[in-house]
């Protein structure tokens, strides 16, 4: 299914330094003007088992019911939707939504807000709302 993005620039925050800026709606990656690092800005959908070191994007990360992420760190600047399983630290400036069959296990979950449906399973340290270093 083709996902349509709204036309025009969309605001993002760099997941490395937190700097906010606009990117074209169809951009997949860019360079942060503040930290000069290459960053991913596309939305990510995980529909199967995905073992990675870091899963990070300024867009939204969605883990479907059959999706399973095993990572050291999961960073989704636009928030994280999980109906499957995530193992690893979660960091996001947005909202983490855990569906009724979702599970998360990791050292730490940092987000602005956390929505937990009945039946979801969590195990790990939660810091909500997240605090940036030095706060």
């Amino acid at each position: 299914m083709i996902r349509r993005r709204p036309a025009g620039p969309r605001p993002i925050h760099c997941y490395l330094c937190g700097h906010g800026f606009d990117v074209p709606a169809r951009a997949m990656s860019t360079t942060c003007p503040a930290c000069n690092k290459a960053i991913q800005v596309e939305d990510v959908v995980v529909k199967s088992y995905l073992p990675v070191t870091d899963l990070q994007t300024c867009g939204r990360i969605s883990v479907t019911a059959r999706g399973r992420v095993a990572a050291k760190r999961v960073r989704g600047g636009g928030g994280i939707d999980c109906d499957g399983a995530i193992e690893g630290s979660i960091e996001t400036e947005g909202v983490v939504v855990l569906g009724p069959k979702a599970s998360w296990k990791g050292p730490v979950l940092r987000s602005r807000h956390l929505e937990i449906a009945d039946g979801a399973r969590l195990e790990g340290r939660i810091e909500v709302p997240r605090r940036r270093d030095g706060e």
Binding site: M1, I2, R3, M28, Q40, E42, D43, V44, V45, V46, K47, S48, Y49, L50, P51, V52, T53, D54, L55, Q56, G59, G67, R68, A70, A71, K72, G84, A85, E87, G88, K101, A102, S103, W104, K105, G106, H113, L114, E115, I116, D118, G119, A120, R121, L122, E123, G124, R125, I126, E127, V128, P129
Partner: protein
């Protein structure tokens, strides 16, 4: 906001209690408690209340500030004004927008049971087991499914 009828006991806003409190049914805490609180019913830490206590109950609602561990047999609810600084163990959890939680949480995982990382879909794999794609970033996009490698699939089956 809960009605008074739900709570047989109310600790008033000007009360300061230090020690162990045990309730047969629900209790509403408007004042301060330092120690332990246990109940077979519902405990409400009302807005404005600041408790430094270990709370054990079937249902726990936090609208004020709670510093200490919480063990809820059924559910813990944290209101927008609520803050929990401590470890939480509960079957279910509800967090309102603006609520603050800081601590180790074990939700929906039976005490002493295995963690939720597997989610009943096979054994949990540690992050080190998998292979990162490319330069360590996940290779994925908005329209295509992330393709598992043969190694990853084998690891998932194990």
């Amino acid at each position: 906001m809960s009605t008074n009828g739900e709570y047989a006991t109310t600790i008033g806003p000007d009360a300061v209690f230090k020690g162990d409190l045990e309730f047969e049914s629900g209790a509403r805490v408007l004042g301060r408690i330092e120690g332990t609180v246990s109940s077979k019913g519902k405990i409400l830490i009302a807005e404005g209340s600041e408790c430094t206590a270990t709370v054990t109950a079937r249902d726990v609602s936090v609208e004020g500030v709670l510093t200490g561990n919480v063990e809820a047999g059924d559910r813990i609810s944290v209101a927008p004004t609520g803050q929990v600084h401590g470890d939480i163990q509960a079957a279910r959890m509800t967090m309102a927008e603006g609520a603050t939680v800081n601590g180790f949480c074990r939700i929906g995982v039976a005490a002493g049971g295995k963690g939720g990382g597997g989610g009943g879909r096979g054994a949990a794999a540690s992050p080190g087991d998998g292979k990162a794609t490319g330069n360590g970033q996940a290779r994925s996009d908005s329209e295509q499914e992330a393709k598992p490698t043969a190694k990853a699939t084998a690891a998932a089956k194990r």
